[in-house]
């Protein structure tokens, strides 16, 4: 939760494009961490079903599957954003968002 707020602060407050992207990344990681912790149990073990082990005290596997998907999505967004920011730098010659404002109204 604290990480989420740090990320949100980064997105809202920073003026450098790269820092904004880092803020977004931190937000994404915080959500993923939160999801994994939801499924955690103390002294849990990996949720792998095999013949010689009793189904006892396993961590919840669904958040792990969910997080794996969320990480992939996050990666796609990050790749796209950094791509756009490189092209923006080529066009405007700056990373400062207060100077990138051709669209108004």
């Amino acid at each position: 939760m604290i990480l989420f707020c740090i990320g949100l602060y980064g997105v809202l407050r920073k003026r450098n494009i790269v820092k904004i992207i880092i803020g977004l990344a931190i937000m994404g990681y915080s959500v993923n961490l939160f999801l994994v912790l939801l499924g955690y149990r103390f002294h849990g073990r990996a949720p792998i079903d095999s013949h010689d082990q009793a189904i006892l005290n396993m961590v919840d596997p669904i958040p792990q599957a969910v997080v794996a998907t969320a990480i992939v999505i996050g990666m796609a967004v990050m790749a796209l954003l950094t791509g756009i920011s490189i092209r923006l730098y080529e066009k405007y010659g700056t990373f400062d968002i207060t100077k990138i404002r051709k669209l108004k109204g």
Binding site: L8, M27, R101, L103
Partner: protein, 503 residues
Amino acid sequence: MKVISIIPLFVIIPLGAAFLNSLIGKFIKRFGDVFTLASAAVLCGFSIYARIALESVPGKILVYKIGGWVPPFGICLVFDGLSSFMLIVINLAAFLAAVYAINYMEKYTDKAKFYTLFSLMICGLNGVAVAGDIFNMFVFLEIASIASYALVAFGTEAEELEASFKYAIMGTVASSFILIGIAFLYGFTSTLNMADIARVLSYKQNAWVIPFVSVLFIAGFGLKSAMMPFHAWLPDAHSSAPAPISALLSGVLIKTLGVYSLFRILFNVIGAPANYLGALMFLGAVSIVLAGILSLSQTNFKRLLAYSSIGQIGYIVLGISLGTPLGIFGGLFHLFNHSIFKPLLFLNAGAIDYAGGGKELNEAKGFGRHMPFTDKTNLIASLSISGVPPFSGFFSKLIIIIACAQKLHFGYALCAVIGSILTLCALMKARRFIFLEDADTKEKKVTGEVPWAMVFSMVFLASMCLLAGFLLIPYLRVFISDASAVLLKGTSYADIIMRAALR
């Protein structure tokens, strides 16, 4: 073929089209045009066929279990009145945008990549409409959003990149909100299936998580649907994207990702608490009035249209969140109408741009005089969106206003009327510049009408505008009233899905 086996095809066909386009679209010249158009036409046919076939299904609901796993454990796709309604809206608009794109996209360099992203976006939108699982809905929502971020930046000019960057930042923050909302819901109910979440929530006492989660969802989906406090990305993104894409963004994407998923979760999963609906009604009314005023002051045609679509989203949200049968009916009917006339207006703007007029109203002076089809279709769309009687927009706005008055919200009804007048003013201003003034032909060469494919989709949409009013006659009314019935059922939807799944 059985109807139930069509449901996964709504996701598979566009996904396959995207894959093939990226793989061999580069080597065969006309492949992208023909193949994307064919897949869009097939999807359009399937959505209408499946809607008709749904009539004969008991309970009017179909649940497709992926891999044969029963819902609380496996993933399911749900096809009911509301989903089929959204699918028809999406695929119709997508088909016409694909027809239009054949000629319009010639001026960009890489058509194969355009068609890949286009098909991916359709895949995401269809997926959101049929998803019966809250996390799958999120995944499809992200597919559609990421494709649309890339499509907004497709021209890679300075403005387009800037708009896309803003849109991507806002969209990613919204997705984080939605994902953390899903995480809280999962932590509370230990399930991801929407029907099952609704069931568990109805058993649990002291559901402290509901207010928090609903606020997260309203913020997240509100950002995606560009309601008034969250609207900042929309005018930039819509005015910078290529015309067929802005038609889809405004006509379909903000409604499917924002309005549809928000109300599906609020009504069918959480159970529509009255105070959140009240807040949404307020946001809707604010959107209508403020967006109307802002759209008046615009000098860029597409930007003007973008502000007016914020206003129209306001009508839809206001109508649905009234929560009465008539209000929901009016909201959904307006959603359908808006997905016809707003793409038409954006395609008109694209046609003027294509003829060399540019996007600024001052530069495009008099361009419309030599384009009879664009002129007439634009007139129909402008009158329809501002609610002039014989056209479809009039009926849906009238229903929303009556529904407001029935619940004694006269202030909101007044807002709706004022918004309608403001829309009319803004669009008449645009028409005066583009179609009525004399062209200063010295500076720019005025070309004639745009190619036939573009004319076809504009004329088709204009005739839909005229005909959509007929959806109110009793036999065809089922199309919309079934959709609103799904929302009205609220959380009892859970039991219906569970029963349909075990069938």
